[in-house]
């Protein structure tokens, strides 16, 4: 499929679609930001890998906006620390320091802010990172939605893992692993919004994955690529990957872990779990000979208990992700095109 049309060129205004994490977001980055800031040929990874006095440093930033700010399984503060810690960790680095900035809406309860900051501090302790600088701005009511948080972080690379960001070691036959069921975060947040008349027990998977990732990295196995699976879902991450390595990807859909409750709501709303956002999930590409052992190592970590091999890199259908459906058919799995909308019937 040729993505000839760039959605930014086509649109005069920013729509919510540009923040969906899918095709429109990618277009926005390429068309506006890379053109001004970057190298058009660089692989866009979760962190920049910098060389400072011949030490490799991973450097990244992320802003967090979420409605509601408190949801089952977490809050915006936990999200803000875990998100940046994970971006650093999947680059092969050990997260060390964070900075944070707050934009607060007039009227926000001090007690809510305390809760949010406490959960940031709690996660920072868990992730063994220090929050070392910060900034606060307050805006008039209605100019932001309660609280927006930015975190920026650096981590150190003990070895030269820069290939993990670029995927340059990936070959035909490599296996794809995820660390557990997909879509919990999206569904938990959707349920907490009270717009839908459903109650769900599903908790966000929001978690810092630095330990899980260090466990596999230090086991001496052949880890070739890692990405955290956030907005846009697994489908979008895999499509980016197939483009980067110029190979095909084949998924075995019945192996992809999705909770029954999440699946049920997806059926009702017409969502595809492969496109739902996660906040504590990582996708790994590993050498086929090491795949089973890596899964066993991951299962020993609390955030990897349901790790599974879900697919492989293939030389067929280059730049394309194909799913073997649960009934034995085949289908193409594309990048997320726009925020998933509930269907009519």
């Amino acid at each position: 499929m040729q993505h000839i049309i760039n959605t930014v060129v086509m649109s005069e205004i920013i729509t919510l679609n540009h923040g969906s994490g899918g095709k429109a977001s990618q277009d926005l980055i390429k068309e506006i930001f890379i053109k001004s800031f970057g190298d058009p040929n660089a692989v866009l990874s979760d962190s920049a890998i910098l060389d400072i006095d011949s030490r490799k440093i991973a450097f990244t930033t992320d802003s967090f906006v979420i409605d509601p700010v408190f949801f089952p399984g977490g809050d915006i503060g936990k999200l803000a620390v875990c998100g940046t810690v994970n971006d650093i960790a999947v680059s092969g680095a050990i997260p060390k320091y964070l900075t944070t900035s707050f934009i607060l809406e007039e009227g926000l309860l001090i007690n809510d802010l305390k809760k949010i900051v406490n959960s940031m501090s709690e996660q920072a302790t868990i992730a063994n990172v220090k929050i070392v600088a910060g900034d606060t701005k307050v805006v008039q009511k209605g100019k932001c939605d309660k609280i927006f948080i930015n975190t920026t972080g650096i981590g150190t690379l003990e070895k030269d893992y820069s290939y993990i960001s670029t995927g340059e070691k990936i070959i035909n036959g490599d296996k794809i692993i995820v660390n557990g069921p997909l879509g919990d975060h999206s569904i938990a947040v959707l349920g907490a919004r009270n717009e839908l008349e459903f109650k769900t027990e599903v908790q966000s998977d929001c978690a810092c994955l630095h330990e899980l990732i260090q466990d596999v990295l230090t086991a001496g196995k052949q880890i070739k690529f890692m990405r955290d699976i956030t907005r846009g879902g697994l489908a979008t991450v895999l499509n980016e990957l197939s483009g980067i390595v110029n190979l095909g990807i084949e998924l075995t859909e019945k192996e992809i872990p999705v909770k029954e409750s999440v699946n049920g709501l997806c059926e009702v709303l017409g969502f595809d779990p492969l496109y739902l956002a996660n906040e504590g999930k990582v996708m790994l590409v590993v050498h086929k000979d090491d795949a089973k052992e890596i899964v066993e190592i991951m299962k020993k970590n609390q955030f990897g208990k349901e790790s599974k091999i879900i697919g492989e890199i293939v030389s067929d259908h280059k730049n394309m992700v194909v799913g073997k459906t649960e009934i034995g058919g085949k289908r193409i799995i594309n990048t997320l095109q726009g925020e998933q909308l509930p269907r009519i019937c």
């Binding site: 499929m1 059926e267 259908h317 034995g328 193409i332 095109q337 726009g338 269907r343 019937c345």
Partner: protein, 361 residues
């Protein structure tokens, strides 16, 4: 998942797929006229399990796709009126009108809210007395009763700030229009949800008058495969009739209570189908009794409609004459984010389903 897994039995699907191989030398076209079927067919990769001789074509079954450009323009015009809140099912917001879409208007500040039910829309009206809430009524016999219930409730409770802009349509007239057209259809995969309400008897005229096979079908892979087998058998044995594969939900007479509510609130009118044209008695409008809830009568909606992009072949796609891949715009200037034609907009639209799931060959 309970109640679903049994209908996604790979072994059973493979068995039917094997059996169908004997029909490789046939040349038959089966049309699904429900967007839910189009989605399921592509999501599960059903075409990759069928012999070459059995072709699946997608008909005008996506309510979003067949809504006329006028309807979208009217909705957009309403959204620009003072104090108006547009309440709509999600799929509709990205549909392109002549110049804009509800999504774009929302980005510019229009009050457009996605709802999941008509009663939720009614609730917005009740809790925002200073606003005028216009619900965009879209869909076939499946969603029309839900709109009817909301209107009855608003009438009974004297809610005076709730309105319906109706694009509701009914299925049988468009199926007949296709049969009178030059479309090659040997059998219909009849809609499951529509039939839950209407019953299967609404299709009786199809085998009787046109000798075309009909099977009312569920939405899971085994449902679809079984229906394709039933249809193929009917055609191969020259025994065209209406069968109900989806018997766990559909009866011959349907949900008579829902039918009665729908009839009490709506009457038929000639309606325009995007890409197909006007079809007599194929749309639903509010009866005289409910005229105060009819957005078209209450608001002064001025629109100037433009022709659709001449290169767009949505009409031929909706009639099953062409497939999305035959369209020059498909995947190039027309993608789900920048849809040119309506079939690309809804996740149930043929083009969107092809784009997203396009069966791997």
């Amino acid at each position: 998942m309970k109640y679903i897994e049994e209908y996604r039995n790979a072994e059973l699907v493979q068995k039917i797929s094997e059996k169908l191989k004997v029909y490789d030398n046939l040349d038959i076209s089966l049309m699904e006229v429900c967007g839910g079927h189009t989605m399921a067919i592509h999501r599960f990769g059903i075409p990759s399990l069928l012999p070459k001789g059995i072709k699946l074509i997608s008909g005008p079954g996506c309510p979003v796709c067949v809504s006329s450009i006028n309807f979208i323009d009217k909705a957009i015009a309403c959204s620009a009126l003072k104090e108006v809140v547009i309440a709509t099912y999600g799929d509709l917001i990205r549909v392109p009108g002549s110049k804009s879409s509800l999504e774009k208007e929302k980005s510019k500040g229009a009050d457009v809210r996605i709802v999941y039910s008509t009663l939720e829309a009614l609730n917005i009206a009740k809790t925002n007395q200073d606003k005028k809430v216009v619900f965009l009524g879209i869909g076939f016999e499946t969603t029309a009763p839900a709109s009817a219930v909301a209107i009855q409730k608003a009438y009974k409770e004297g809610v005076s700030n709730f309105y319906l802009l109706s694009a509701h349509k009914i299925m049988p007239p468009v199926m007949e229009a296709l049969l009178n057209d030059d479309v090659k259809i040997d059998g219909f995969i009849c809609p499951g949800h529509v039939s839950t309400i209407t019953g299967s008897s609404i299709y009786d005229f199809i085998p009787e008058k046109y000798k075309i096979a009909c099977v009312v079908t569920g939405f899971e892979p085994t449902d679809l495969m079984q229906s394709i087998e039933l249809l193929t058998n009917q055609i191969a044995n020259d025994n065209q009739k209406v069968e109900i594969q989806y018997s766990r939900a559909v009866t011959k007479s349907g949900n008579t209570k829902a039918q009665a509510i729908m009839n009490e609130v709506f009457e038929t009118r000639n309606d325009f189908w995007r890409g197909i044209g006007e079809i007599p008695d194929s749309g639903l409008k509010l009866r005289e009794k409910y005229k105060d809830f009819n957005a078209e009568l209450v608001f002064d909606i001025q629109i100037e409609s433009k022709r659709e992009n001449p290169a767009c072949i949505c009409g031929d796609i909706l009639r099953g004459i062409k497939t999305p891949k035959e369209c020059k715009l498909f995947g190039k200037t027309c993608t789900p984010i920048n849809p040119v034609g309506a079939c690309m907009v809804s996740s149930e639209g043929s083009c969107a389903a092809y784009y997203k799931y396009s069966s791997y060959e």
